[in-house]
């Protein structure tokens, strides 16, 4: 996976050779033009699904303001 040489933008990781060979076969004829592009795609998909959603924290005053506004629009009772 050392197709890009720009040290700032890319890094090299190691995966088992048989796995790499399987992936190479699998991406033939697909839109993926390299092993790296496939692995990048899969990792992006995985990492985006594992990030936590931060809780919104409102002060009492802010929460009441928002509720009043939404009530005025008829969206809250």
């Amino acid at each position: 996976m050392t197709e890009e040489k720009d040290d700032k933008k890319y890094t090299t990781i190691s995966i088992p050779t048989p796995l790499a060979e399987k992936i190479k076969k699998r991406i033939k004829g697909t839109g993926f033009n390299s092993l790296s592009s496939y692995v990048t795609y899969v990792l992006r998909e995985i990492i985006s699904g594992t990030e936590e959603e931060p809780e919104e924290a409102f002060s009492k005053e802010d929460e009441e303001k928002i509720k009043n506004r939404l009530r005025a629009l008829g969206y809250l009772d």
Binding site: G31, Y41, V42, R44, E45, I47, S48, E51, E52, E53, P54, E56, F58, E63, I66, R69, L70, A72, L73, G74, Y75, L76
Partner: protein, 377 residues
């Protein structure tokens, strides 16, 4: 509910104007830029905290991502003339104002840099043709770009602000309503029957629909913002279950960047808390610059977008099916199809005539015709 894009909902609005800002250099900017600042400050453009610096811009143009790998397709840029900012250097802070919106904001200038207009146009719009409105706006930009974080200090109440919910408000609302899955629909026109079918088909599979008209600068002959909002109010009143629909406006300019803009629009709706985004035919397209379904294909490049696109082909009425259908579900020849022509509906309304009820709801048509001037002059 999806997390905000980039993981955090940005809030760069301060309630109290800090002292000591009166000595800062002050610049009046145009309304589009002022609206960009408001969108940054309220988290609509999360994770952006300001105007793009050079590394981010280059990555957006080349890879459709920010420097930290977050998907981002439309550069949010602040341009200035060399002469205007000859005394400004990196590290300075400046005041940015706009009379129309009452904007008062601070920009912390992180970087001042040049850019190539042709590269920008080609990357974002896929063309360098000056007839493309987005390309024309790039060619009209000034020579220098300023990157850096913005802070919103003040903005005045504007027309339609009662409909202008911020992402933190819509997220709060969706939670209060108990909606887990929300589909967003973007619009720039009053709804005809085809729009209603798209919306209701999508709504069938989720908890609620978020109708999000784009409000702002329009071309001559377009429906006015007032008409768009009133017509949707009418449709919602008579034909939507009240507990399943929310409408709020989005103040931003259309770029007509087709597929790239479809991703941008999806990101914005993710920040509002939506899980799904409706992408129709030729989304954000103009003329013949994009294939009608380029805006569908581009989503394959973003497994980490965090909002699910819902692709629709155009709905039409099939006289043989005797129903509103689309090409995926209708087996009949084109001669049986009647398209919902926005142009035809517009022509009828322009002449004070009510369009057929199988094209537009009567109540919606009547709402539009109540306006003396439903079109931009």
């Amino acid at each position: 509910m999806p997390k905000p894009h980039g993981g955090k909902l940005i809030d760069r609005h301060v309630k109290k104007v800090p002292s000591g800002i009166t000595d800062l250099p002050k610049f009046e900017i145009n309304t589009n830029l002022a609206e960009d600042i408001e969108n940054i400050a309220k988290g609509v453009f999360s994770p952006l905290e300001g105007f793009l610096c050079k590394n981010d811009l280059e990555k957006v143009l080349q890879e459709k991502r920010l420097e930290d790998d977050t998907p981002w397709t439309i550069p949010i840029l602040l341009d200035f003339d060399k002469k205007e900012i000859k005394d400004i250097k990196e590290g300075d802070s400046v005041i940015l104002t706009n009379t129309e919106t009452g904007l008062l904001s601070i920009l912390d200038v992180e970087e001042i840099y040049t850019f190539d207009k042709k590269t920008l146009a080609q990357s974002v719009y896929g063309t360098q043709d000056i007839d493309h409105p987005g390309v024309a706006s790039v060619y009209n930009m000034k020579q220098l770009l300023l990157g850096g974080k913005v802070t919103l200090l003040e903005s005045k109440t504007r027309e339609f602000d009662e409909y202008n919910l911020a992402p933190k408000e819509t997220r709060f609302l969706f939670k209060e309503k108990g909606w887990k899955e929300i589909v967003a629909f973007q619009t720039r026109n009053p709804p005809h029957i085809g729009h209603e079918y798209v919306q209701k088909t999508a709504l069938t599979f989720v908890d609620g629909i978020f109708i999000n008209p784009i409000i702002g600068k329009k071309k001559k002959g377009d429906f006015t913002d007032k008409v768009i909002l009133a017509s949707y109010e009418t449709l919602m009143k008579y034909y939507y279950p009240k507990e399943r629909v929310v409408m709020s406006i989005l103040r931003t300019s259309m770029k007509y960047a087709g597929p790239r803009e479809a991703i941008h629009h999806a990101i914005i709706r993710k920040n509002f808390g939506c899980t799904h985004f409706i992408v129709g035919r030729d989304h954000a397209g103009v003329g013949n610059y994009y294939d009608p379904y380029d805006a569908h294909a581009i989503f394959q490049e973003f497994p980490d977008l965090g909002i699910t696109p819902v692709f629709f082909k155009s709905f039409f009425r099939c006289t043989k099916c005797d129903a509103v259908v689309n090409e995926k579900i209708c087996p009949h020849e084109e001669k049986y199809h009647i398209n919902f022509s926005g142009k035809k509906i517009r022509e009828l309304l322009l002449n004070g005539k009510i369009p057929p009820e199988n094209m537009m709801r009567k109540e919606v048509s009547e709402t539009i015709l109540k306006f003396d001037k439903p079109f931009v002059e």
